[in-house]
Symmetry: C2
Subunit: 373 residues, 2 copies
């Protein structure tokens, strides 16, 4: 059984302190007992984490790679995360900066079902950035949202995505909305010969999710938007690994901010919005774009896009999807920054156009294609 490896950035005064902390993590993430209490044999030799490498990274920073047994991580994606960072997430001065799943964990969690090529194929967009307008605002009824969806799909949107804040409220209940928006997008596709994909925002109490996932598929949804920060990464994985369902997943960063906002806790940006999403099985990862309402830097956004598309894995490359501050005026810069394989979210400003929203989609399409390298 091939062990998987997690690389932690440890903030410590010296190597001895960093090593002591790494030894603590190796126990904390597995047996959670003091070293002298660990039963000898299998548990001591296999289950306890093993420090594979440790060394300085910069002033007051060290890098420790710890390997773990797939036996401890089991077969549930959530338990994999629990071993990677469960209790150690509560320690200051500790950040996850790399994960190497190894062959055995990758066999259990092989990543995106569709990836970049699969989404391009379904959307019928062989090259160039994909355009994804967002259905909102919260409070509109299902008919109004379906009308916006129709206009966007008619104008050539690649992905029509619902806002993450639209779930199962009484103004636009999940099932009524999914049926009406699916029908609207299908009507537009029939009229244009296009293949705009509709991703409703998955809603429901835990005991309703199974039925809602199948309902969305049957109603004609082409994928699902999931918030792993609120519903759990297990739900992403559950959809991605279902052969008969065969639905793409787009993940949304809601509630995940604290994992990346502080320098010395949580995950690096690339880990959180790239590697973890990909390992869970997401095909498209939404994240806050540079220059929008959130403070991500160009380097942080590039690191996310790189982690999403890294050809060396884990699993198939996925599409980064920057949201916020996207406009025709910025299209050239965005193409320069993100290149070809990217899904551009177009949010609230597009709604200013009302019934002419299609003109905004078309203008964005033209601007992206004009800037393509």
């Amino acid at each position: 059984m091939q062990r998987f490896a997690v690389t932690y950035r440890i903030f410590a005064a010296d190597l001895a302190e960093a090593r002591a902390r790494a030894e603590g993590i190796a126990l904390e993430q597995t047996v959670e007992v003091p070293l002298d209490v660990v039963p000898p044999g299998y548990i001591a030799d296999q289950i306890v984490g093993q420090i594979e490498e440790i060394g300085p990274e910069g002033a007051g920073r060290f890098r420790a790679t710890i390997s773990y047994s797939p036996d401890g991580a089991g077969h549930e994606f959530t338990q994999f995360l629990n071993v990677i960072f469960g209790n150690s997430s509560i320690q200051k001065g500790l950040k996850v900066i790399a994960i190497d799943p190894g062959a055995d964990m990758l066999a259990r969690h092989p990543g995106p079902r569709f990836g970049i090529a699969g989404i391009r194929d379904r959307a019928g967009r062989a090259r160039g950035g994909l355009i994804a307008p967002v259905l909102k605002p919260q409070g509109l009824d299902a008919d109004a949202l379906a009308r916006i969806a129709y206009l966007c799909a008619k104008a050539g949107a690649d992905v029509v995505k619902e806002d993450h804040g639209i779930t199962d409220q009484s103004m636009a209940p999940f099932r009524e909305r999914v049926e009406k928006v699916s029908a609207a997008v299908q009507r537009a596709n029939a009229e244009t010969g296009g293949r705009a994909l509709y991703f409703p925002s998955l809603a429901g109490r835990p005991q309703d999710l199974e039925a809602n996932i199948h309902f969305a598929k049957q109603a004609g949804a082409d994928g699902l938007l999931v918030m792993p920060g609120l519903l759990g990464f297990g739900v992403v994985n559950r959809i991605a690994r279902d052969n008969s369902l065969d639905l793409p997943v787009m993940t949304h960063p809601s509630f995940f901010g604290p994992y990346v906002l502080s320098e010395d806790t949580g995950f690096s940006h690339g880990m959180m919005f790239g590697t973890l999403q990909r390992l869970a099985g997401s095909d498209i990862s939404v994240f806050p774009n540079v220059g929008g309402r959130f403070g991500f830097t160009p380097d942080e956004c590039r690191a996310i896009a790189d982690a999403c598309r890294d050809p060396s894995g884990p699993g198939k490359p996925m599409l980064p999807s920057p949201g916020g501050g996207m406009s025709v005026a910025r299209a050239a810069d965005m193409v320069e920054m993100y290149g070809d394989d990217v899904v551009y979210l177009l949010g609230g400003s597009l709604l200013r156009l009302g019934e002419q929203i299609g003109e905004g989609i078309a203008a964005m399409r033209a601007a992206i294609d004009a800037s393509a390298r």
Copy 2:
């Protein structure tokens, strides 16, 4: 419909900047469109957040209370959290420090089913701190874990809890383990006439959770340990709100560290490990104790315990459950700090006693009772 209110700590240069940020939050957490795009009428008047109060809190700190419509938060607990802090969690310099659910949201999410009085009643411990040994380490088989559980229950443990790292691994699969440990605890209870409660660690992929919850109940489990950081708060809520299931919930902080570790993001300690757990429906909230392996301060731990037990709500008071660094030598200090209504986790050090583990439980019981005020 009574609006619910969230109080944010905003880090800003002056009141004008704080107000501009609060106005941004009121949009971000609801309609997620610029103000000029908000449809007039119901959406502008009801759905958009409203700043109820804003003022200085200290140097560079402001406090803004924003109210939201229950319509936007719907009936799912996860959507309630999504409105409270979904996208705004990704903004630096913003921390949630209070939530007032109001009558309507409290009717939807009334909090702990059992609370302190209910857990005491089921455990048969009318007064004094409760003792909760933890079954571990990961890697033991179900028989070995059942043996530890038997010895702990026999010696007078109030709650026999599984380590959060024990889920559904092949060494001790969930169903086999829950059956064997339930039987062991029931045998001990029959022998002593006691009522030790067994809380297995809930495991399973999302599509297996329903069946596993019911399996645990039928096998004789007295409650469930749930990690909302990995499974989602919705699962806690789902168990708490099920009248026919009638099972207590103990929540574990795994994966939640980044929400409290930085001064200017996430939630205050009392919010994260008190109020939110309570609103979700947890009866017992595990958190890292002062003096253990994590760096929580006495004030942070007291704030958590206070939020768990605040008689003014939300819902019934729940039990704080500090874990880490608990010992007979510290019992008097712990009773001084936490008082009567508390569940003391006893972890790895207890395992040193092997077959004499019961002596450790008895010694802790005596030390707590001797210190009771």
